[in-house]
Amino acid sequence: MSEVIVVTSGKGGVGKTTTTANVGAGLAMLNKKVVMIDTDIGLRNLDVVLGLENRIVYNLVDVVEGKCRLKQALIKHKKYPELCLLPSAQTRDKDAVTPEQMKELIEELKADFDYIILDCPAGIEQGFKNAIAGADRALVVTTPEVSAIRDADRIVGLLEANEMKQIDLIINRIRMDMVKRGDMLTVNDVCDILSIHLLGVIPDDEQVVVSTNQGEPLVGTNSLAGHAYQNICKRLEGEDIPFMDLDVKKGMLGVLKGLFKKN
């Protein structure tokens, strides 16, 4: 039984692609067969976040248009052989693909993979409709900011209208120091406002930028955000993992890291 998950947010720049890359890699580390599909046609980025940008031959649109076989377009990750990417087309338009074609493609992939993860483009237009068409469940990514939360709420409404079976929330880039000062919405505030199930909280972590620079997933490394992504993957696998205490860890780790980084 394979599960089809769409990672979406409405607003751009809140961490959909980073979440897709890390959840995908994290599940592959748990020995699951995972394929990630970049559905952002025209603005592809998942390849570069994963460090696979130099290995693209065929893309999503080529597959849909029958220019190549599906297997030819899939790129295997060097480090995790269980992890595959179906890249998006960079020089085409969102309407090069229809929701029906996406559904067919996903059906074909279900035979070979445990997880099919779709990286959704920002916005609520054609690209969004394509991305959610074949999905069983959705991960809605938001940051604790009014604009991102408003868009996330709109997305939740649209997902519900499209009869998405399960919708979970990921709160990204939370800063506990600001929450403590009262200058950032708390995790509880965001959950209260959006009233959907919380799957994970990712702290604002410099290591996210570092790992993106290097084109390597953060999950599995010894960083706060890396642990948070790993926890999300375990929860997707049905494990009951408690939410980590970001505040305490940040303090302790911060001090330790500071000591080691001096040399």
């Binding site: 009014v146 939360i149 600001m178 929450v179 009262g182 505030d189």
Partner: protein, 98 residues
Amino acid sequence: MGFMDFFRKKSSGEVAKDRLKLLLVSDRANCSPEMMEMIKNDIIEVISKYMDIDSQGLDIQITETESDSNNGVVPALFANIPIKDMRHTPAKKKEENK
């Protein structure tokens, strides 16, 4: 602004929460500010027939309330209408008295 607010300024996080709560309710209800204004004027018109109300102080907003029937949260139209004078006589009769 209340007297106590002078001493305790709301944190920006609280401000964000309050703003979002109101914003999302009207987003979800798909209700435009123009429509709210029309509802407000109609309410003033109807209630004014029966009592003297403070139309400046009238405040309506869409909020949420616990539903009795399907035990969930449903949108509700909340109206705060300050009454200046409870006239028990309908407006028509009052005109006659004048």
